[in-house]
Symmetry: C2
Subunit: 203 residues, 2 copies
């Protein structure tokens, strides 16, 4: 729906919010009008936080995760096993894996995935720095990318690059999700879960 | 889902976005990570626009609509009929009615609706200034509030306040929405649309 705005500033603010993913002009207008009902200090703090995002955000020099310091909390934690690197697509994936509290190695954030469709090639990703890290006594690299065509392509590319430096390269298990009923599982997943079946006692 | 953030600044930005209506922490994180993928100038412009919202936004001295000037474009337009006032709840409602291009009078933005449940009384709304305007040769006041209990309460309150000053006070027609099938219409609407039936040729 096209709307006539009573104020240029209002229109500009709505346009800015509309640029965010999943936010159309109607939602953007609702957000802006909501901001205008808040007290001035809150809105100023919101604006300043976004300005700080633009100027202050830093990335870990080692793993490329977002960080307030030069080295992120994970890389600087002496209790983490720095000889195991888990390769993920983005910052959110690090947070999701950290949330499981099951992983005590370190990370490497690629910053994307190889996707010819979207014009993302290996040189657009943090792969050179991963190759460098791999030559520094790393025992295992876990490829934790999406189980998609792009993820598989990237996995294969990384495997060929890193294989000569690292004794063990693994990937996340493909299989039946916990809670899934057999009749609803897609065939590709079922085939993989049969091929990669595991001794019962380790489940 | 509770997530551990790798950076305080990231967490703060996510918190700020989460305060917006309809945006949870997962969506907020997606929005912030999207901002971080944009170039620095765009993010700065976004932040500055929000700061301008806090400091520069103004409201029309006459009708309380958002405006860049002291008087909004509608109130200062000599072609509009300033003797007809359409009373609406908020700025968005003005935009929606303007969008129909069917109304040539002016507006009055109440800034809310009387709602004892949410603690909004008549003194919280722009009613005093409406009473003042009503005494200045106004021919008609159209009450265009929501067709809810709160809207009806506010309509009734305004009618009693304004009745002595204005020869004609009207409200939006209640009736069958265009495209509705009879069997799906609620009874209250159907009763009103029979009571307020109109001669066929004026449809």
């Amino acid at each position: 729906m096209y709307l006539t705005y009573p104020s240029k500033l209002l229109e500009e603010a709505v346009n800015e919010f509309s640029k965010l993913p999943g936010i159309g002009s109607k939602t953007a207008l609702r957000l802006v009008l909501n901001l205008l009902r808040q007290d001035r200090e809150s809105v100023e703090y919101f604006g300043k936080t976004i300005l700080r995002l633009a100027s202050e955000i830093r990335y870990c020099r080692i793993c490329h995760n977002i960080s307030d310091e030069e080295i992120c909390p994970v890389c600087s934690d002496k209790r983490r096993d720095a000889s195991i690197i888990c390769v993920v697509e983005n910052v959110k994936d690090v947070m999701i894996i950290e949330n499981t509290r099951q992983y005590s190695g370190v990370y490497h954030v690629l910053g994307g995935i190889i996707s010819p469709m979207e014009g993302v090639g290996p040189s657009d990703l943090n792969i050179a720095s991963l190759e460098e890290r791999a030559q520094d006594g790393i025992k295992e690299i876990i490829l934790a990318l999406s189980a998609t065509m792009e993820g598989d392509t990237t996995n294969f590319y990384l495997f060929r690059k890193l294989n000569k430096f690292v004794p063990k390269i693994s990937t996340l298990a493909r299989g039946v999700s916990i809670g899934d009923e057999l009749e609803y599982i897609d065939e590709a997943t079922l085939v993989r879960s049969i091929q990669n079946r595991i001794p019962f006692n380790t489940v």
